[in-house]
Symmetry: C2
Subunit: 199 residues, 2 copies
């Protein structure tokens, strides 16, 4: 393996481990040693590839949000037409599926968004604002509301679609069924689509 390939592969292993660890425990409760162990490298190597824990966190966030925009290809707006509605429903369903496969997105959002610090500012400026602007340009998943309602609908949708998967262990303990099973994901996607964009 060439040196560049080796470097990229190692960095990728570290970032993957960081995504998991940050999502499971949050930024403050994750140690660089735990991340290194999970990635199968030494802690020293971690600080070699990433200048600081914050730097690693940003790389992990890049990976998570990159996966989101890849999973939700930007479409042309279909204002109020019949195909527009089914397109919105399809977009909502793929968002639910992404939330089920990658609850890390939700955890990064909640973990960073709850207090006003550098990480939150960075996440808003770098990922959330562009993504949100793209949603608004698309018309958004609002249900009959005007543009001003969009933020509320956005957070309502994100929460409704993601929470059950973000607390999957709790949901399993509470209800006895694993929400990440394909049948459960499908049922949740149906529910969310019916709620936010009824046929």
């Amino acid at each position: 393996m060439s040196r560049a390939e080796q470097r990229d592969a190692t960095r990728q292993r570290i970032v993957d481990a960081a995504v998991e660890t940050f999502a499971e425990h949050g930024f403050g409760a994750s140690s660089t040693r735990d991340i290194a162990t999970r990635a199968g490298v030494t802690q020293g190597l971690l600080t070699y590839h990433f200048a600081s824990k914050d730097d690693l966190w940003r790389a992990a966030a890049d990976q998570v949000f990159g996966g989101l925009v890849a999973a939700l290809p930007v479409r042309e707006p279909h204002p109020r037409s019949e195909e527009g509605r089914t397109a919105v429903r399809a977009a909502i369903r793929s968002y639910v599926r992404f939330a089920a496969d990658h609850p890390e997105l939700f955890h990064f959002m909640v973990d960073a968004g709850r207090h006003d610090d550098n990480r939150m500012r960075w996440l808003v400026d770098t990922h959330l604002a562009p993504f949100f602007a793209g949603l608004q340009a698309l018309g958004g998943p609002t249900r009959g509301g005007a543009g001003k309602l969009a933020p509320h609908a956005y957070y309502a949708l994100a929460g409704a679609a993601s929470l059950i998967f973000a607390v999957a262990p709790e949901c399993a303990a509470l209800t006895g069924t694993n929400p990440q099973s394909s049948a459960s994901v499908k049922r949740h996607a149906d529910l969310i689509a019916d709620l936010f964009a009824p046929e």
Copy 2:
């Protein structure tokens, strides 16, 4: 002030500080020293009143969930009647208002629910399961679905109602408006009620 009163007042100050700190940073990233400082006491006093950090966390969770059940008085079921629907809408609106006033509830749920450990088990057994059973007995906020759908609807509602307030600093930075303003809370309550229990 009598000795018992003093004791209770001090414990209450510590629990209040713990609720804030755990909600802001999560369990693992909260230090008992930060909590003690916020409560205006020494760290040693904290370990005197609460045997361990886990013990303090349970006391804080008791306070948060106690506030929830106090804010949502249990009602008689109104199956499918007209008053039943408006009662459900009213319950949803007070839940949204509680989520706006006490985003700690959501943070405790998400922080504990994301991995299968003792705290999650305790939260499910002690608070979530009884609360959820009460909701199901009430008929639940499902929209035309049968009983089997209840878990999905429950998590969808909880997420839709709470997320915007749980990440209020992020929402403010992203959209420029404070979601916890009374006008914003009212608008969100309207949206959630319309989504989950349309008139």
